[in-house]
């Protein structure tokens, strides 16, 4: 069963627009991570937000975490074509090997 899940299969926006990817998870976590995977590449971490944090920023990226609703969001502002990728959330506990990935949201940014 999926212990972390993004809420949209695919999103598309035009360059310059903002977009938000949402994620829900099912267990008590230590941290929630967001990864991006471009075509033909492995996933790369974008942001890590710990369970005692509510918001984290990294340039044009902003992640939020709501432990009461067990949900997280990743917002991208001023999108660029190179933001086209699959975005995964991953929920983690203190146990090695328990980082659980969602199915991913495919984002297409059009020029």
């Amino acid at each position: 069963s999926q212990l972390a899940e993004e809420n949209s299969w695919a999103l598309s926006v035009h360059e310059g627009e903002s977009v938000t990817v949402n994620c829900s998870y099912k267990t008590s976590i230590t941290a929630l991570q967001w990864y991006r995977q471009k075509s033909g590449k492995g996933p790369a971490q974008l942001i890590l937000i710990r369970s005692n944090e509510r918001e984290k920023r990294n340039g044009r990226l902003r992640a939020t975490l709501d432990t009461s609703s067990q949900s997280s969001s990743l917002s991208i502002t001023a999108t660029r074509c190179e933001d086209t990728a699959v975005y995964f959330c991953a929920s983690g506990t203190q146990v090695v090997g328990q980082l659980t990935f969602g199915r991913g949201t495919r984002l297409q940014v059009y020029a």
Binding site: W9, P43, L48, F88, G92, T93, V96, Q98, F101, G104
Partner: protein, 115 residues
């Protein structure tokens, strides 16, 4: 910085064949992982290893063997390839002091096709 190298990038085999994927990392990380990625199903953990010669099963270990003979390398063997396991296999590594907030560093993946 470091890098994770997976070989081969593309692997084609026959149904029932034993196939091996290799992974090398130069991060000097203790922990390494093998994930399987199927379209629409995210990443699922097959095996991980917290140190040389250690092996831990993930949710998807049936039908696979793994080997960690050196700190820098981690191999995955498909014991009897089946057509329904065509997928991309991703190797990753992380620090050993996990605490739930460690970052995984991934290779570019090995795509398996079974004829």
């Amino acid at each position: 910085g470091g890098i994770i190298t997976q070989t081969p990038k593309f692997l084609i085999g026959q149904e029932g064949q034993k196939l091996t994927l290799k992974c090398q990392q130069n991060f000097n990380h203790d922990t390494m992982y093998w994930y399987r990625q199927d379209s629409g199903k995210g990443l699922r953990l097959i095996y991980y290893s917290i140190t040389e010669n250690d092996l831990q099963k993930g949710d998807l270990s049936e039908g696979y063997d793994a080997s960690r003979e050196k700190k820098s390398s981690f191999s995955l063997t498909v014991t009897s390839a089946q057509k329904n396991e065509m997928a991309v296999f991703l190797c990753a590594s992380s620090i050993s002091d996990w605490g739930g907030d460690g970052q995984l560093y991934f290779g570019e993946g090995s795509k398996l096709t079974v004829l």
